[in-house]
Symmetry: C3
Subunit: 341 residues, 3 copies
């Protein structure tokens, strides 16, 4: 039996205004413009898909005030401030985030000195070492390893097979996807003239409230000072965060990006996929690093940079648009400078 | 005791024709041109190694019809349509793919509602949740985690420490290398003006028949619709496949490549190592993406593209060959335009 | 109770000379210039932080002979050959590398044919298959999987959730960070005209003495011959090493780099973050590959290369400095060649 919600309830949930359709009609789920049926709500957020409005089978569509409801369509239409947020709120209504079952699986290995709050879920084959503490409502997926001294706040969701190394600190509502490694040793060696001597990595990793970490992402512990990911930051999969890095509030980082040691990324920044930032740098709040960019200098103000070495985005865009004219430039140049040799 | 195979049996196995040597001679294994001994077969597939033909100690060499058997050599020679395929077939004769022992280890945690077919192998410390189904002859390596609703076909080989998240669907003969994460949450958030609101990721991942996934590769579940990897596609290690991506039949993707959300990669495509494709794109069947390329537009026909932003490969090759002449171009240019200011 | 060490003991430990301060004063730890207090030693290695000398609260500072002790400061100063090495030695005094507890956890699954030397530590939920051998003093973290025939030397440290696939060979004092996969199948397929036929990967991986491997790094087993990482090499996180690669003595490789099949990296090389080397190449001893570089040809002598395709570093640096002048060059060029059409 699917749950359903009436349009008037939807309007309340998403702070929307029904501009066409019956308030007591209802939907049972959310789908894309292209695949929604009469029983679904859908949304227009990306203008690329605007023409799908004309053919969608959806029962209800979230639209911004700027978009007129097209003639010759029959779907119910709801005006909202941000259709993507409205979709998200409705999707969260139908699919709430997972909640702890409060069950600790018999196969979990939990040290007797660990502190486990009420209503914590610990799945099969988890290993929890000395002095670990886990806050109320948190969930630890199968096969996770929590080393000595790890501290987890309330309502965290640690997916299966995550490593939280020695002394890693998590705030509340932190989500970590499967396979991530938090607190691995930083890559620190001193060259003695004969060998690379390993430098003990004695800092920790701290993930503040509402941080999310993607699958198989690695966050190294600090060499001396902690590696810190501030509240509300979101990291995608397969990202490398080196020792001593600090990532600011609500900064988002796309897949396969990398940040070298001791660099400070500001608040509200964005890093594109496969981008990299060199070590010991400081990126200003609001810096946007383009996909595949390589940043080798500080930024002092918000704005987008791209390329390697990274330059202001528009500059990079213009230059890379010219790149494949290089052979033509060379040819013309030789023609022009003929006789000068 | 090593197994051996006669040249006439080899000829049958690889559809080859013995053009020099004794049909009842035999070999016991396969090795490279450089390291093969009298008891080994070898092959010439990469012309880079052609000169090794003159010095190889191999007892038998697979050659294409185009290659003449060199004078002053004594190895037995077998003409085949494709020496690399012949080598592969012989190697598979000596080293068949692993087969299920049919043994379920006592330490595996298997929910009572799971359906496990006959002759399935489940190794130590595996965790299998509610409603999982595993087809006949499949093998689940140690430490794997299969979440609720996962369905695995027949004769799949899941190496140790793989996560198959909720509702992941596998066809037959799927191979997944160790550490891969299939079905992690896609990277989806709606910015409310104040925070990034997590969008429930309710699509699944489907890996069709004969797909192979590399070590520590991540494939995110769809936000709404499924992420799909079609039959016969092969993905290398440390690849990022975002939510809602579709990868076509028999497409091959090299290590550390990444594909952003909702992009459709056609059939028979190739992606080079460390390449990336932006989101919401469509690559035509037969598209070849060069190593490290960054694709930001659709392709409409087969062919190779390279660079970032990616352009036709030859164009990129010519332009990048000129890249380090930029300082010279600049200097000449200034000289030529002197006096114009 | 913290341990303390007198300045005269420190001088002995790091082969230093106390040039200011009392030999019987002492410190209890190490910290950065910016954060050290009276009870800490610190060091000046990166000249970027030189001005911090004037304000540091540290009790003792390691300096090279080239640096004068600034007036108007009061810290004790010790001259050393290399401040970074001195810091490392002192840090290792306070934080020795972990040592085996000699305890084998009851939940570990160990095949009866495995050989485990004296004083080996094996943590919870480890799985050890047939014929594995583990040398004295080694530590195997929780959730690790050691497949058939794995051989581990003495005093190795395998962090949690590492896979050592069939027949992987480790020397002494090897360190592997969490999530790494050693010995996954190489990415080898033969195209038959209709499908990609998997080539059995029958080589192994050998990690020699004092090798360190980063978190979630993948090292594929050889197709025919072994993949070999020579003594003293250090690899960071999320690196891809393909089948049949050889990495030389004391070579260091930064995060997210990748090396394609059969390539030989020389001794004492360095690879920057997110760099890549194509297959079947040979890099000379002492080659330095810049961050994000893509190497598609052999190198014959030591030195740094950058860019894609990689060229000598200075050449790349000069050219990329000109890159964003391309639009200007194009404009001038058109102006100059006006009337020529």
């Amino acid at each position: 039996m699917e749950e359903s919600i009436t349009f008037s309830e939807v309007a309340k949930l998403v702070s929307g205004k029904l501009v066409r359709g019956e308030a007591d009609a209802s939907i049972v789920g959310v789908h894309t413009l292209a695949h929604a049926q009469q029983q679904h709500a859908t949304f227009l957020a990306n203008m690329k898909y605007k023409s799908d409005l004309l053919t969608t089978q959806a029962g209800l569509v979230f639209l911004s005030a700027k978009i007129e409801v097209p003639k010759d369509t029959s779907f119910a239409a709801m005006q909202v401030a941000d259709p993507y947020v409205a979709f998200t709120l409705l999707q969260r209504y139908f699919h709430p985030l997972p909640r702890s079952s409060g069950i600790i699986h018999a196969s979990a290995v939990i040290d007797e000195t660990a502190t486990v709050a009420s209503h914590v879920q610990i799945d099969a084959n988890v290993s929890i070492a000395k002095g670990v503490s886990i806050g109320s409502g948190s969930m630890i997926g199968a096969g996770c390893v929590l080393e000595e001294g790890v501290r987890i706040g309330n309502h965290c969701l640690i997916h299966p097979r995550v490593t939280l190394a020695r002394d890693t600190q998590l705030g509340d509502r932190v989500i970590i996807q499967s396979g991530a490694v938090i607190g691995s040793d930083g890559f620190g060696f001193a060259w003695t003239g004969d060998e690379f001597l390993k430098i003990p990595q004695v800092g920790r990793v701290a993930l503040e409230d509402d941080v999310e970490i993607g699958a198989n992402t690695c966050i190294d512990r600090g060499a001396i000072e902690d590696t810190v990911i501030k509240a509300g930051a979101k990291l995608d999969n397969l990202i490398q965060v080196a020792h001593g890095v600090e990532i600011g509030y609500k900064t988002v980082i796309a897949g396969q990006a990398g940040i070298a040691g001791s660099t400070v990324i500001g608040n509200g920044c964005q890093m594109g996929a496969q981008s990299g930032v060199a070590g010991h740098l400081k990126l200003a709040d609001g810096t946007i690093v383009g996909a595949k960019a390589g940043v080798i200098g500080n930024t002092k103000e918000p704005g987008m940079i791209s390329g390697f070495p990274a330059v202001p985005h528009r500059q990079w865009l213009r230059a890379s648009g010219m790149f494949d004219r290089l052979p033509e430039i060379w040819k013309k140049m030789r023609k022009l400078s003929d006789g000068e040799k």
